[in-house]
């Protein structure tokens, strides 16, 4: 082995080992437990084969959690990407106090999700309700997090408010890779702003669009902290995401093995979605 290669091994192997010990090994353990009836502690458990998996497919709570999570993820992904692209365009323009605004829009990203969640929880119950009453809008005069049909919108608002920050930064980085000469040329040719956006800006930042779509989708499919801070899955099970169901059922309900099976299925679902998204969006990139 040459000396140069040794250096590269030193750079990569520790990370691989750490990843294996702290991520892969627990995941493999989870798969192992998903074939047992272990309750999370104690020494006794039996192998029960695929019974956990069979039960999962007849459990309406699991179906309900999937439905909520996908509805939530699709809405959040679309909103985050549209809004953060708009904000990035604004922050990339030659406006006054540009760095100040960039700082402000990045702020939500450095706040803890739980803190943001608890602050919004307070706002939803004590501030927005008063605005609603003063404006005379019945639907907003009560806490929307306490309403079975509206609670998910509250969670979406918080997730989007916080999620925008990171995606804005990525779009901003993308916008800065576009050479100014292209816009000068299009100006000379008399292209409208609309044409400029669809013919130059959007195609050139499409790798950033891909990664933003994948990240936003993956993050919102795994939504957990916001739910804990805002609704704890309620009212009833109206805002229970899959991660939340796995946590509550596995740790509070003492059904560790059953929820391990649920996580194995969910891992496969997320992997498939991410691969499909990457394939489709990267294919689109090369067409452009």
């Amino acid at each position: 082995m040459s000396k140069r290669l040794t250096a590269y091994y030193w750079m990569t192997v520790p990370a691989v080992v750490l990843f294996f010990v702290f991520m892969t090994l627990p995941a493999l353990q989870g798969i192992y437990y998903s074939f047992t009836n272990w309750n999370g502690f104690g020494k006794h458990y039996d192998f029960i084969g695929f019974r956990n998996y069979a039960n999962l497919f007849t459990d309406s709570n699991v179906g309900n959690a999937y439905l909520f999570t996908f509805k939530f993820a699709i809405v959040v992904t679309i909103l985050i990407n549209v809004l953060s692209l708009l904000i990035a365009l604004g922050l990339n323009a030659r406006i006054k106090a540009r760095n100040f605004f960039r700082g402000i829009y990045f702020l939500p990203n450095i706040l803890s999700v739980l803190i943001v969640g608890y602050i919004f929880n307070y706002l939803f119950s004590n501030v927005f309700t008063i605005w609603g009453q003063n404006l005379g809008i019945h639907a907003f005069s009560t806490n929307i997090l306490g309403n079975e049909n509206l609670a998910w919108i509250g969670v979406v608002i918080v997730a989007v408010w916080q999620g925008i920050a990171f995606n804005t930064i990525l779009y901003l980085a993308g916008l800065q890779t576009i050479p100014a000469s292209l816009y000068e040329a299009s100006n000379l040719d008399g292209a409208s702003r609309w044409q400029e956006f669809w013919r130059i800006t959007f195609p050139l930042i499409s790798p950033f669009f891909t990664i933003n779509m994948v990240l936003a989708m993956k993050n919102s499919l795994m939504v957990f902290d916001q739910i804990v801070a805002l609704t704890n899955g309620g009212p009833g099970r109206a805002t229970q995401s899959i991660s939340h169901l796995i946590y509550i059922g596995g740790f509070q309900g003492g059904e560790f093995a059953y929820q391990s099976a649920n996580s194995v299925i969910y891992f496969i679902v997320i992997a498939i979605i991410s691969i499909l998204q990457l394939k489709f969006l990267q294919g689109r990139e090369s067409d452009m």
Binding site: R51, G146, R237, G254
Partner: protein, 407 residues
């Protein structure tokens, strides 16, 4: 540089010396770890532990009170690092741990003699075991708090039956005051009326029969469900938007006449308003006041680890906590009730409950008998939103069956 090293060496030496000093003082002492789950009770237990350590020179007890204590305890059980003495509620977690044989068998212990047999029976019912593995210590009560000033102002008396309760609530509502301050944003709060209605109207035996599939919720729980819904007519404008903390503040400020709550909320209410003039009566669930029982469960039980090296000393510590003076001090500070016979709670706010304790007219919380995996809280909260009784009862049955079949 050299100076720095010498300084460092001195510091190290000093720290070693002080460490030795500590060891010398505690040498030969039996060290006990007392693990308990109530953050509210940490101060009270600290005082009692200090008193014990002072009067028992051979034993050194240390209190441990981590956040999310039940989960910490479970992980320590996995690691086989079980604390010597454990204080926890008579919950589903206790039941699961007791069934895994991690607690010492105290059936023959003298400690049991001082305890009200009602609570011993409760523990046996919760675990389903015939041996005693926990000593009930402090107990709580679930009922209805009321604002004495509002009751006086409206000329109301304490309701003894369900019909009287609804009539009282109606009068309060007619006078423009909120009858009940519901805090149903927190799902565990939606359970409080259920916990009072089910044991009185259906009985705790139902849950034993349910385990054997002899009865169903659909057959027995219609009245409970109807009464749960009826109460919602007497709430405020945003029943599902307010949390437990909101409710404690609002009730302390006199915003509602009644508050369906547990005795554990009294210290919190007094924090908001030390002068709150509150009373507490048992939930009147039916129309025969003589049949109505108070809902009271074991808030803290004391138990010894099976694997401890110091069983004798651990029992000594528990015996000390059970001494009337000590438990008296504890329940006074915590507005709890004593599981030790003959020790009474004199707080005027809960004076009306004392006759029920004396006569043994108490029954346990319903949800102590429902497996945690059923997620009763979420089911009840969902039902109160969509108000569909048939779907609610059917869900209770199917969820129960699903959990049983997954075991």
């Amino acid at each position: 540089m050299k100076m720095g090293r010498i300084l460092l060496a001195c510091l190290l030496l000093a720290s070693i010396l002080t460490a030795c000093g500590n060891n010398g003082e505690n040498a030969g002492k039996v060290k006990l770890e007392f693990f308990q789950n109530k953050p509210e009770a940490k101060g009270s237990f600290d005082k009692l532990v200090a008193k014990f350590n002072a009067s028992h020179p051979g034993i050194q007890v240390t209190q441990v009170n981590p956040p999310d204590a039940e989960t910490v305890l479970k992980t320590r059980v996995v690691k086989n690092d079980i604390p010597d003495v454990i204080g926890m509620g008579a919950t589903d977690t206790y039941s699961i741990l007791a069934k895994s044989d991690i607690f010492a068998d105290l059936t023959q212990s003298k400690l049991v003699e001082a305890i009200d047999p009602n609570y011993i029976k409760m523990l046996k019912d919760v675990t389903g075991l015939s041996k005693i593995t926990g000593i009930p210590y402090a107990t709580n009560a679930n009922g209805i708090m009321y604002n004495k000033d509002i009751f006086k102002q409206l000329g109301l008396s304490v309701p003894k039956t369900w019909d009287e309760l609804i009539a009282t609530a109606q009068k309060v509502k007619d006078s423009g005051i909120i009858p009940f301050y519901f805090t149903y944003k927190d799902d565990w709060q939606t359970n409080l009326p259920f916990n009072a209605l089910a044991p009185n109207l259906v009985g705790i035996d139902f849950f034993k029969q349910r385990r054997e599939n002899q009865v169903t919720f659909q057959e027995k729980f219609r009245e409970v469900a109807e009464k749960q819904l009826k109460l919602l007519d007497y709430g405020h404008g945003d029943n599902f938007g307010k949390t437990y903390a909101d409710g404690n503040r609002a009730f302390a400020r006199g915003e509602s006449a009644m508050y369906i709550q547990g005795s554990w909320a009294i210290p919190e209410i007094r924090k908001s308003n030390p002068k709150a003039n509150i009373g507490f009566f048992p939930f009147p669930t039916g129309n025969d006041p003589d049949k109505n029982k108070l809902i009271s469960g074991v808030d803290t039980l004391l138990t010894i680890s099976e694997s401890t090296q110091h069983k004798k000393e651990s029992e000594e510590f528990i015996a000390f906590l059970l001494e009337p003076d000590n438990i008296g001090q504890y329940i006074q500070e915590q507005t709890a009730f004593s599981a030790v016979k003959g020790v009474t709670q004199n707080d005027p706010a809960v004076a009306e409950l004392e006759p029920y304790f004396k006569a043994g007219r108490v029954v346990d919380f319903a949800d102590h008998y429902i497996p945690a995996a059923v997620q009763l809280n979420a089911i009840v909260q969902g039902f109160l939103q969509n108000r569909n009784i048939d779907a609610y009862l059917k869900t209770l049955d199917t969820e129960w069956d699903k959990v049983q079949s997954r075991k």
